[in-house]
Symmetry: C2
Subunit: 269 residues, 2 copies
């Protein structure tokens, strides 16, 4: 599917775009089940909540689960990513934030590109995030909140001031100060896109965003694919970050002919 001119304009204006019910209930159920399988795989790609038990996020499910290996080439994700970046793209990162029922903790206000510049020397913010709702999202289960247009302010907070996790660069480590946020909110307001499972939010790697804890009995699982321009590769003076947080396959991705579920069923025949 291609975005309309109005949709691409709105993305560039606001820094995000909601596409309601882009994936079917069947597809979303398949992705949810594949995530649950993957969340049970031990390893450093699995980040737990502060309680030390429940899964907070899992990285690189496409390396272990065929559903996600297909999903990253799904034309409903790749075609818009090509349109918005106007360049060839590859998968820089795939993570699934679990935000479990009653207590999935908040994610601090941050800009993704701040983390990626610090950790991976990523030269420019030429990324687009594509987030798929694996559950219905409402005001109670910790929806992502965006400050519309804040991607046009450049990097507000460029330094790292904490180390919450050894496994990944957590938003807490690069969170904006209350003063920075108050100024941006006064100017931009706040918006939290909601919708049924299968909805998709495209968002800039520079937009300021965060989310509250989950107060409800419904989980709020969100699969986020980050596509980066193939002309904008990371580099490391020393040891690179592990492959589960930074994709090494930088070949341009080519869209599947149809949705990931068709491709998967074809492969299983």
């Amino acid at each position: 599917m291609r975005l309309t001119q109005e949709q691409t304009d709105r993305y560039h204006e606001d820094g995000f775009l909601l596409l309601e019910s882009l994936f079917s209930a069947d597809e979303t159920a398949v992705l949810g089940a594949a995530f649950e399988r993957d969340a049970a795989v031990p390893g450093p790609q699995r980040v737990v909540e502060e309680d030390g038990e429940r899964v907070r996020a899992v990285y690189a499910s496409h390396q272990r689960q065929p559903e996600y290996a297909g999903l990253i080439r799904d034309p409903r994700l790749l075609v818009p990513a090509h349109q918005l970046l106007a360049e060839d793209v590859y998968l820089y990162q795939l993570k699934i934030n679990a935000k479990p029922a009653f207590g999935g903790e908040k994610w601090a206000w941050h800009q993704d590109y701040a983390a990626w510049r610090i950790a991976d020397n990523l030269p420019a913010p030429r990324q687009v995030n594509v987030a798929i709702f694996l559950d219905d999202v409402d005001e109670f289960n910790g929806p992502v909140i965006f400050l519309p247009g804040s991607h046009r302010s450049g990097l507000v907070q460029s330094g790292r001031h904490a180390t919450r996790s050894e496994q990944h660069l957590d938003p807490d480590d690069i969170s904006l100060t209350p003063e920075q946020l108050a100024g941006l909110v006064a100017e931009r307001g706040m918006v939290s896109p909601k919708g049924p499972a299968g909805s998709v939010v495209l968002f800039s790697s520079e937009i300021v965003h965060g989310s509250a804890p989950n107060m409800s009995p419904s989980p709020r699982r969100l699969a986020i694919m980050t596509y980066n321009s193939t002309a904008n590769l990371p580099s490391w003076p020393g040891e690179p970050r592990p492959e589960y947080v930074v994709g090494r396959d930088t070949e341009p991705l080519v869209p599947l002919a149809a949705g990931f579920l068709d491709a998967l069923e074809g492969a299983l025949v």
Copy 2:
């Protein structure tokens, strides 16, 4: 002001009732300023957030601030309280939850009466809470969330299982389990009343409620007066709880002739 039959019916059905903009902007500003003054008074009536610095709640402001001494007799609060309990009432407790910008922490899902039965041997749930919004309340600054009708389930969680604070009985200490909550939410859903500063929510001491942290740059200060039937007094086998958490003046309250601000200005002339 008297509630209509429809309003009292809805209160008894849902366990809460929102009255938008019951107090004027002037009145709300006066109450907000009086709270800020009171929040600076050191003492055990002042509960701080986990950061040890910011104020989480202040008790019994009516004992120190004339605005709140008048407010508890304001006919806009007392007349509905009389109507809903159909008994003479006195002030059992007054607290102001500060929920400061960016980080006022969540309040666990709980029923107030569970706390009061445990701590004060309060014989029956013959209380009504009257909460005044001292700030605009939206989806981002941690609104109170109710499970409509849950007050009709009686006490779901009757024991105390933790001690978060030595100063007061914190909702964390009597929070419902995820299983209890999931059952109630499936049956009742969730609602979070929002509105401009000066709005009022009346709610039952048995309704299950909680709130998320404040993600926004706006505080969410909420003044809560709890009226109890004068025929339903607390008692203690040993030492009673301090007066700042349990009012000792159990004389029936008589409404002022006009709003608290008029009475206050009269007193100042």
